[in-house]
């Protein structure tokens, strides 16, 4: 795995950022699929 990407697992801050990006992406997908027009 590239050194830069490795940081997202090896560092606690990097892992935090990685999970947050995945989660917000999931939230955006949920919004697009189910919540658009209701908010």
């Amino acid at each position: 795995m590239a050194k830069g990407l490795r940081w997202f697992i090896d560092s606690m801050l990097g892992y935090w950022i990685l999970l947050l990006v995945i989660s917000l992406g999931g939230a955006a997908a949920i919004y697009e699929l189910w919540l658009k027009g209701r908010v």
Binding site: I9, D10, S11, M12, Y15, W16, L19, L20, I22, S23, L24, G26, A27, A28, I30, Y31, W34, L35, R38, V39
Partner: protein, 353 residues
């Protein structure tokens, strides 16, 4: 989509089950009801505000019971502490509701609520994060020296101060291994109940740090003991909301179907990690909830004209639940890998058992 006739809305079943599962996991792990995440999410799904509160409270009562039973089996409940706190908590909640009604009469309830929640959550986040990082660093040093650390390590000097207050009666909390004046526990219950009643939440995110940093309980026992309070406050809230017609039981059942599994998993997950790991997740929950509250405050202060702020608040609310659940799942996964001698990131070994 399902037609919830009592609430008068159509909402996606999958999202209710997902919310129930994620908040159940988080709640069982850090000892919160999750109302500060669930109520805004239900409003976003289309439920009216009063219905969102009622559904949330009722599901919290059921989920809290499941988590409490599991934590009791894990030996994480101090009944002396729990029962000493109940009366104080109920009194505090009643006071908090009256303070809220006062602010409502002078027309400042939304802003007062949001500002208070931002200040309280951010302060708790700062203290919990700083103390937990010190504890994590100390655990790493112990591991480096080849010394074995226990399930808990806490570096705050506050518990020693509060445990030395000589106000009778002094109670011996056997499970928590704490000897403290009963008044300390009661006042913790009153103050946390007041904040909870004012903010309209269960109060776990205030009570768990209070039990750890003021009473001096270990994090695991603070989580389990707090869930007992949540069963009481959630049960009472569910009863009151039901009497007012604020509960759609079908919505509650869908959420509980996810929460039953999540709460079990979250509770069991605490046995894979040390206290600082639980406090890390609690502090992340606080900072993300603070950011959501800041966005909602900005939306209200700008006259509710910038819809983008409301949209970001929605995404943060849903994203926060997924983030916390993912972090807890990964901690358990790393713990299992570490037990089996497989490689894990360097920051993990001192956080897991």
């Amino acid at each position: 989509m399902f037609d919830f006739t009592i609430a008068g809305v159509e909402a996606p079943i999958f999202l209710l089950i997902l919310v129930g599962f994620t908040v159940g996991t988080v709640g069982g792990f850090i000892g919160v009801g999750g109302g500060y995440m669930v109520t805004p999410a239900l409003i976003v799904f289309g439920f009216p505000g009063y219905m969102a509160s009622g559904i949330d409270m009722t599901h919290i009562a059921g989920k809290g019971l499941v988590s409490t039973i599991r934590h009791r089996q894990l030996g994480n409940i101090d009944w002396t502490m729990a029962l000493s706190m109940v009366a104080g908590t109920m009194l505090g909640v009643e006071l908090g509701v009256r303070v809220l009604v006062y602010f409502k009469h002078i027309g400042l309830s939304s802003i007062a609520l949001l500002i208070t929640s931002v200040v309280v959550m951010f302060t708790l986040f700062l203290y919990t994060q700083m103390e937990t990082r010190r504890a994590h660093k100390k655990l790493d040093e112990l591991a480096h020296e080849g010394k074995k650390a226990g399930r808990e390590l806490q570096t705050s000097s506050l518990p020693a101060f509060f445990q030395n207050i000589p106000l009778a009666p002094i109670v011996r909390c056997r499970t928590a291994r704490v000897v403290v004046s009963m008044w300390v526990i009661v006042v913790v219950g009153i103050v946390t109940g007041l904040l909870a009643g004012f903010l309209g939440v269960g109060g776990g995110f205030i009570r768990v740090p209070a039990l750890v940093y003021i009473v001096g309980s270990s994090t695991h026992i603070a989580v389990g003991t707090d869930l007992v309070e949540i069963v009481f406050s959630g049960g009472y809230g569910a009863l009151r909301h039901s009497m007012e017609g604020h509960v759609d039981m079908m919505a509650v059942l869908f959420m509980i179907s996810g929460a039953m599994i999540g709460a079990q998993f979250g509770s069991i997950a605490t046995s894979y990690v040390r206290g600082p790991a639980i406090r890390y997740i609690l502090s992340y929950s606080l900072i993300l909830a603070t950011c959501g509250a800041v966005l909602r405050l900005a939306y209200v202060l700008t006259g509710q004209s910038i819809e983008l702020l409301s949209l970001f608040a929605v995404m943060l609310t849903v994203g926060e639940m997924i983030f916390l659940c993912l972090f807890i799942v990964s901690l358990v996964w790393f713990a299992v890998r570490h037990r089996n001698g497989k490689s894990v990131p360097a920051w993990v070994p001192s956080l897991v058992l």
